[in-house]
């Protein structure tokens, strides 16, 4: 059963078309990898799904409900959580308070929200940092905090925007494990944007490649990686796809 249906989604910025008639579906319980060169429209796609940008044309159906014109907070409440490429911690609050702020999306009581926060913090390996101020976390912790805040809103679909970027190899392995657990243990569907191919190749069930705002390939990771159009898109931007995949 598909949890998210994107139909002919288009976004114009003035004369520039950042996303051009993109259509795809995401199945419940799936991890969908979103790849494409810089500026191809991946983050814009996320910003359209959670309504930071208004859609120029096209439709977004989530759980059979048309969410195209809902507000950002309503989309979060409907069950789509997201992280930001440039992390947005609530800087002066403690790590625990950050996560509690997310948990209040479905909890009204203080103790209920705190319980949720504790679970999520443990899940994201942040329990040791819970009393630290969010802006004093090291970068690995901040990336995990992004995930934790989104998880605390109890989403059924999670949009992860480069949560592994800037991490060291050990942290990358940890991040992959957390993402896998999110799907396997919590049953949350994931769409992931990632530049580190190791991450995207290991955890995606399916990959969608976009360039210049349009879909250029879609399918199993091994197949998309061989796709001439994908290789062309990366080479065209002077990218050596071989290096990229081994990174």
């Amino acid at each position: 059963m598909s949890i998210l249906e994107i139909d002919g989604l288009t976004k114009h910025f003035g004369g520039l078309t950042a996303v051009d008639h993109v259509s795809f579906e995401v199945q419940e319980g799936e991890i969908l990898g979103l790849i494409g060169p810089n500026g191809s429209g991946k983050t814009t796609l996320f910003n359209l799904i959670n309504s930071f940008y208004t859609v120029s044309s096209g439709k977004i159906i989530f759980n059979k409900q048309d969410i195209t014109h809902l507000k950002t907070n309503e989309i979060a409440k409907a069950g789509i959580g997201r992280t930001f490429q440039v992390v947005k911690p609530l800087k002066r609050l403690s790590v625990e308070d950050n996560v509690m702020a997310g948990a209040f999306a479905r909890e009204n009581s203080f103790s209920g929200a705190r319980e949720v926060a504790h679970e999520v913090l443990k899940f994201c390996h942040l329990d040791d940092y819970s009393q630290m101020k969010a802006d004093s976390l090291p970068i690995g912790g901040r990336k995990r905090l992004e995930i934790a805040k989104a998880l605390a809103t109890r989403p059924s679909l999670l949009l992860l925007d480069e949560t592994a970027a800037g991490l060291n190899p050990t942290e990358v392995v940890e991040a992959i494990q957390i993402m896998k657990n999110i799907r396997d243990e919590l049953g949350i569907t994931i769409i992931i944007v990632e530049h580190i191919m190791k991450v995207i190749m290991t955890i995606s069930d399916r990959i969608l490649a976009i360039a210049h705002g349009s879909t250029i390939a879609e399918g199993k990771p091994e197949i998309v990686a061989q796709d001439p159009a994908v290789i062309q898109a990366y080479l065209g931007s002077e990218f050596n796809i071989g290096d990229h995949f081994n990174a």
């Binding site: 947005k88 609530l90 308070d97 999306a105």
Partner: protein
């Protein structure tokens, strides 16, 4: 943050209990002077105003430069029914906050569309416009002549206990808010509005809610001011400097985004004012008495430069410094 524990509404920490106890007995200590008892009442009023501003600015990140608007509206809500129909101003304690919230609702529609400096200017303008309109519309407001009312009691004590009850109640409300979903939402909006929206927080709704609570508190303070002073005019209650700006300064000195900050700020402000007005209680030369506002202004400048968190916010740092200074002097002796 001190959000980790949640207290019951009337469950007080030792510090809070002591503070409230001191407030309660303070007028008895000054029973020899109506003047000092009057000052204590004014302190209570500033605590309420400071708390009101701090909820919006310190906790929700929406810095208002026009809080006199709510204060003045509260005061006139108490005064106008008396002026026209001889209805007791005491009703203002109920109607004041209601009218202030109603005004805040419309103001919010205008100013929350504005960002950064525009928001600051929008709030500032709202207070100023009300000051001028209330000054000019003589048929309705009696203009600059203001409105008189024979106060109910000559003793200061009943006024004090009512003001103190309002102030303590306000502190407890703020504390309750901060330790609840509402408080977390306000803080999230202050820290990052985009992140807050992504967490499912309706930022428009919660900013308006913060404004409404803030307006209600300032409205109560305004109504009480009318009841206690027995006289208001637009220049007094809608004053840009003496109300809007001083409210901000009380918040900054005490500590933006702290529960007890406004209380500390209000006490410090009145203390400095009196210390200098009385020329160091009569011990210093007479000319000192003219310096009270100057000293207060200078203190604000220094606090912003060196203690951005205010007295309460930076208390851990201050306490540490005092400790290390004590250790040093003890080591030397």
């Amino acid at each position: 943050m001190t959000n980790n524990t949640q207290n019951g509404f009337f469950k007080l920490t030792k510090f809070e209990f002591t503070a409230i106890a001191i407030i309660m007995i303070s007028p008895l200590l000054f029973s020899w002077s109506m003047y000092f008892q009057g000052l204590l009442i004014i302190v209570m009023l500033w605590i309420i105003l400071g708390l009101s501003w701090n909820l919006m600015a310190g906790y929700t990140g929406q810095v208002s430069f026009g809080h006199a608007a709510f204060f003045g509206i509260g005061a006139y809500a108490a005064a106008l029914p008396y002026f026209h129909w001889r209805i007791s101003p005491w009703w203002g304690l109920i109607t004041g906050p209601i009218v202030a919230v109603a005004f805040g609702y419309f103001l919010g529609k205008l100013v929350f569309k504005l960002k950064g400096p525009y928001f600051a200017l929008g709030t500032l303008a709202s207070g100023e416009i009300l000051r001028i309109i209330f000054g000019e519309e003589e048929l309705i407001t009696n203009g600059h002549n203001g409105i008189f009312y024979m106060t109910t009691w000559t003793s200061k004590l009943p006024y004090f206990y009512i003001a103190a009850a309002l102030a303590i109640f306000s502190i407890l409300i703020i504390r309750k808010i901060i330790q609840s979903k509402l408080g977390f939402y306000f803080l999230s909006i202050r820290e990052d509005q985009d992140a807050a929206e992504a967490l499912g927080i309706d930022t428009v709704k919660y900013k308006n809610l913060s404004l409404a609570i803030s307006a209600a508190m300032a409205g109560v303070a305004g109504a009480f001011y009318m009841i206690y002073m027995g006289f208001i005019d637009p220049e007094v209650v809608f004053a840009l400097h003496n109300i809007s700006i001083i409210t901000i300064l009380v918040g900054i000195i005490g500590g933006v985004g702290t529960i007890w900050g406004p209380a500390v700020g209000a006490i410090v402000m009145i203390f400095i004012q009196e210390l200098f007005r009385s020329s160091l209680f009569g011990l210093g030369p007479e000319w000192l008495s003219r310096l009270h506002s100057l000293v207060f202004g200078a203190l604000v400048v220094l606090i912003i430069l060196y203690m951005a968190g205010g007295i309460v916010g930076d208390w851990p740092i201050i306490a540490n410094k005092i400790k290390s200074w004590k250790n040093k002097t003890e080591g030397q002796s």
